[in-house]
């Protein structure tokens, strides 16, 4: 087990490295502790605690990158990783262009700790399991429920960052999340399913108060009743409609069609072979009407409670709110020091690695859509004819992030300002810029929250990042919804 002194010596070893052609190096050690609990039909399906500790060293030598990562951490291992990273960088330089430049920053010596009220790792396991059992029992009180799932997940990440520029940052980031789902199945093809607070649960930065604040028990009856009602609901047929999306679906829509296309490494082609590219090319900055004027989206890692909330990114850039879409206009990208230098801007502080063994990539932080005004109830009341789709169930978008098809768990018909019949398997599709320009209403702060996405995939080797999207329910006009039935 590495001591704090081992980590300090290893970090300093990298921060003080000298090698021919080396212009930058950083060291990032991470100790990760996770706890995942799930019950299926009231019985334990997964009760698992994991710890992982190690460090990665990133170097720029002869203008090119090298990265090496090892488990554990001490000065000898740091020396070994440095040697490997330098050799790798020299190999990279055999096929490199102009030397990599990093947008300048003032190196920080600082600390960050996620604020929390109750340490989830200190909450006794039986208390957590008891809560999940109570939820299971409450969901089953509704006749017709044939399957349930309840789950919780907790994650503590301790990080140490040193760089040759003099940065020395320590952070402890705490995430808590959970949720539940109920299914009513009559036959393999006749299934109704509902989730709460959203599919895959809600995940935030914070402690066990995230779980207790979800009002899970109070939501069981409606969740289960809707699952049963969906059994006999028809499939939503194809039509062009006024569409209201629930906040968690707006979150997914932001993630797929604003967050990913604005990752600047992707814009420059770094993900060409895997995640794809982006239609939002750099010459469009400052001129592309990405969305309607009421749409403003910020990258905000400083916003409390998001899965993209931290003190400093993995380039050592302090967290700060930066507008990316301002009143509908594309004004900036999610960027790293390297990609920002290429664009000629300051980094927006979005360089993040899943763990110690991964190279940081440009990732979403919290992609927050500024709330509008009024409530979801008012938005429905002022909609004469339309469809409300709630809770993500399906998502796919092309490799340039233009054409998407997303689906929800349930749709409600809106007639004369009132919710009516429900439909199962609702989908909708569109093209990113056209869709966001059709947004004519965003609900206000009362219906706004930062939704957590704990499973955003990118990179090779694949990295699973945890991102936030601040969203309230929103309305879009003339959208293709439903499917041929």
């Amino acid at each position: 087990m590495a001591t704090p002194r081992d980590i300090e010596r290893a970090g300093e070893r990298v921060a003080n490295v000298k090698a021919a052609g080396l212009t930058y190096a950083d060291f990032r050690a991470v100790r990760l502790t996770t706890e995942d609990l799930s019950l299926i039909d009231g019985k334990p399906d997964k009760i698992d605690r994991k710890t992982s500790f190690g460090f990665g060293v990133r170097v720029l030598v002869d203008g090119a990158w090298g990265f090496a990562a090892l488990p554990g951490c001490d000065e000898d291992l740091a020396r070994q990783a440095l040697d490997t990273a330098i050799a790798i960088a020299r190999a990279s330089a055999r096929l490199a262009a102009a030397p990599v430049q990093l947008a300048p920053i003032t190196p920080v010596r600082g600390e960050y700790q996620t604020p929390f009220a109750q340490d989830p790792f200190a909450v006794p396991l039986p208390d957590k399991v008891d809560l999940m059992r109570r939820l299971d029992a409450a969901l089953r009180q509704t006749p017709g429920i044939t399957g349930t799932e309840t789950f919780m997940s907790f994650r503590r990440e301790e990080k140490w960052f040193y760089s040759t520029e003099g940065a020395l940052i320590t952070q402890t980031i705490l995430h808590s999340g959970g949720g539940m789902s109920a299914a009513a199945m009559r036959s393999r093809r006749e299934v109704g399913e509902r989730s709460y607070p959203t599919s895959g649960g809600q995940h935030e930065s914070g402690g066990y108060e995230v779980i207790t604040g979800m009002n899970l028990e109070a939501a069981c009856a409606q969740t289960a009743q809707e699952a049963v009602a969906l059994l006999d609901a028809p499939v939503l047929g194809e039509q062009t409609a006024t569409l209201i999306l629930s906040g968690d679906l707006v979150s997914l829509q932001i993630h797929e069609s604003i967050g990913h296309p604005l990752e600047l490494d992707r814009v420059y082609g770094s993900e060409r072979n895997f995640s794809g590219t982006s239609f939002a090319t750099p010459e469009k900055r400052g001129s592309l009407r990405y969305a309607a004027e009421i749409v403003t989206v910020l990258s905000d890692p400083s916003a409390p409670g998001g899965l993209g909330t931290f003190g400093f990114d993995d380039d050592g850039v302090p967290a700060a709110a930066k507008p990316l879409i301002q009143n509908g206009l594309l004004v900036d990208y999610l960027s790293s020091r390297e990609t920002a230098a290429r664009l000629g801007t300051a980094s927006t502080g979005a360089m993040r690695a899943e763990s110690w063994m991964n190279l940081p990539l440009v990732r979403m932080t919290n992609m927050n859509l500024a709330p509008g005004s009024g409530t979801l109830a008012e938005m429905i009341a002022e909609t004469d004819r339309g469809v409300l789709i709630a809770t993500p169930a399906s998502w796919s978008i092309d490799d340039r992030r233009e054409n998407f098809q997303l689906g929800g768990e349930i749709a409600y018909e809106i007639t004369g300002g009132k919710l009516g019949a429900i439909y199962k398997n609702p989908v909708y599709s569109g093209s990113t810029v056209e869709f966001w320009n059709s947004c004519d209403k965003i609900a206000g702060p009362a219906d706004y929250r930062i939704w957590g996405t704990p499973n955003c995939g990118k990179g090779q080797p694949g990295q699973n990042m945890r991102t936030g999207q601040g969203a309230a329910p929103a309305r879009f006009r003339n959208v293709k919804v439903g499917q041929t039935v």
Binding site: M1, D36, S38, K43, P44, D45, K46, I47, D48, R49, K50, T51, S52, F53, G54, A64, W65, G66, F67, A68, A69, L70, G72, T84, A85, A87, I88, A89, A91, S92, R94, L95, A96, A97, L125, V129, G147, M185, R188, R189, V191, G269, S270, R272, N273, G276, S278, M357, S394, W395, S396, D398, D399, R400, E402, N403, Q405, V427, Q460, G462
Partner: protein, 448 residues
């Protein structure tokens, strides 16, 4: 370098000896991944990461707990055993736990090659240079991945199971483009032995396809005859792995094949099985519970024959495990990681020549569930989509969104390729041919 077998088993024996559980299962997994990525004809990411961890499944008083660590010191292993014991003590007995596997012999496979384990960043840079040298004179930019991986897996339990496996994997994939929209091509190769990957040949395929896909035209959405290249077939099969072939959803009655064993689910010409002993790409010959892996017929001449099981799903279904358990900290249930589709007799050229009007698909992007109960997916075509008219490829076309219900479209396979390709995706590997399928549904032009 991987830890030696003796060193690993000394560590596992010591942990088993000190375990407070009445039964204990240990999985050792060491992994070294060296990855060179390139884009815009330049190397932009280059890395080497190693990790080794032990996953403990501990049974005490009928209670079952899982914990893992990558701290393999004496203190670290003592701590993870203690963690597992503590978790177990707080739970209720798990009546559905099927117990640990009994010792049995697994057939060894040759999946480890020094050529791959000893590959260097310099050698990867040289291979990428070969590709770039082919692309640049054509005005084509390449992007891609050259990755080598070395793994050791050991499973030991208190009933005497002792399994050990080492393997290497080399993967080279290449995207070629003129710019983001006007020309796209792609190729992929994977092998246990990296000397079997031909960078120049793979580069040629991707670059040639990109050059042929300049100035794609829009065509209306609708049902078309398609020729799916092997990667596109593999991508659809990957989803069947979760939706249809996993014993967990099958036993819960939620699998696409639940209640359908013995019934016709695809055309007569479709046969799919899981085979970890395929000479072209052998897999791990045992699973993470220590059960020797069986070759499992999943669909045979169109008839649903079975699914893969771990010990828990097998018990639920009243059968024996087929040796397809994932690691104990994975709740997904058993999964077929070596999916194989039987070949047909047609060459790709013959499929094209026999097509009056149709679409050639290189592969898909972002396939995802649309209607899981029907095994219906949604996703877009990518990296080279062409129109076929009167038996010839006549022009490149813009990408389209497809919504295939996989078993339904496999009921309309008119021709099956004679040549198969190793296609890796995530932690699975497929060995699949090209397919010609009638009435394949496309719903939208993705670039309109």
């Amino acid at each position: 370098m991987l830890r030696a077998r003796d060193q690993v088993f000394a560590l596992l024996e010591a942990a088993l000896a000190r375990s407070p559980g009445e039964a204990t299962e240990l999985v050792y997994h060491e992994n070294r991944e060296a990855t060179t990525r390139f884009a815009e004809n330049l190397i932009h990411q280059n890395m080497d990461s190693t990790d080794a961890r032990v996953i403990v499944r501990l049974v005490k008083d009928g209670k079952v707990a899982v914990a893992s660590t990558n701290d393999l010191s004496d203190a670290g292993l003592a701590q993870v055993l203690d963690n597992a014991a503590q978790i177990a003590s707080l739970l209720e007995p798990d009546a559905s736990f099927p117990g640990l596997a009994d010792p049995a012999t697994a057939t060894a496979v040759r999946a480890y090659f020094e050529s791959t384990a000893n590959d260097s960043p310099a050698a990867r840079a040289d291979a990428i240079r070969q590709i770039v040298d082919l692309a640049k004179p054509q005005g084509i930019q390449t992007a891609g991945l050259y990755q080598v991986e070395t793994q050791a897996i050991a499973v030991a339990n208190s009933k005497g199971v002792r399994h050990w496996h080492t393997e290497t994997r080399a993967e080279l994939s290449i995207s070629a483009s003129e710019d983001a929209t006007t020309a796209q091509g792609w190729s992929i190769g994977a092998a246990r032995d990296r000397t079997r990957l031909d960078a120049a040949q793979l580069g040629h395929v991707a670059i040639d396809k990109a050059m042929r896909s300049r100035n794609p035209e829009a065509i209306p959405a609708g049902d078309y005859t398609v020729i799916l290249e092997p990667a596109a077939v593999g991508q659809m099969l990957l989803f069947l792995g979760f939706l249809a072939f996993s014993g967990k959803s099958f036993a819960q009655g939620r699998g696409v094949l639940s209640g359908k064993i013995g019934e016709k689910v695809t055309g007569d010409n479709i046969t799919i099985y899981d085979d970890a002993f395929l000479p072209e790409y052998p897999g791990v010959p045992f699973d993470f519970e220590g059960t020797p892996k069986q070759k499992v017929a999943l669909i045979e001449n169109g008839i649903a024959r079975g699914v893969v099981h771990d010990r828990r799903s097998a018990r639920q279904a009243g059968v024996a495990s087929t040796g397809h358990a994932l690691p104990p900290d994975n709740a997904r249930g058993p999964y077929p990681k070596n999916l194989v589709m039987s070949p047909g007799t047609a060459s790709l050229d013959e499929m094209i020549a026999s097509t009056a009007r149709g679409i050639l698909v290189t592969h898909f992007w972002y396939l995802n569930y649309l209607n899981p109960m029907k095994a219906q997916l949604t996703g877009s075509t990518r990296d080279g989509t062409f129109l076929i008219e009167s038996g010839k490829i006549t022009k490149p076309i813009r990408n389209l969104r497809a919504t295939p219900a996989v078993l339904e479209v496999l009921s309309r396979a008119e021709m099956i390729g004679r040549d198969r390709v190793v296609y890796p995706q995530y932690s699975a590997v497929m060995y699949v041919p090209a397919l010609k399928i009638a009435a394949f549904p496309f719903v939208e032009d993705t670039e309109s």
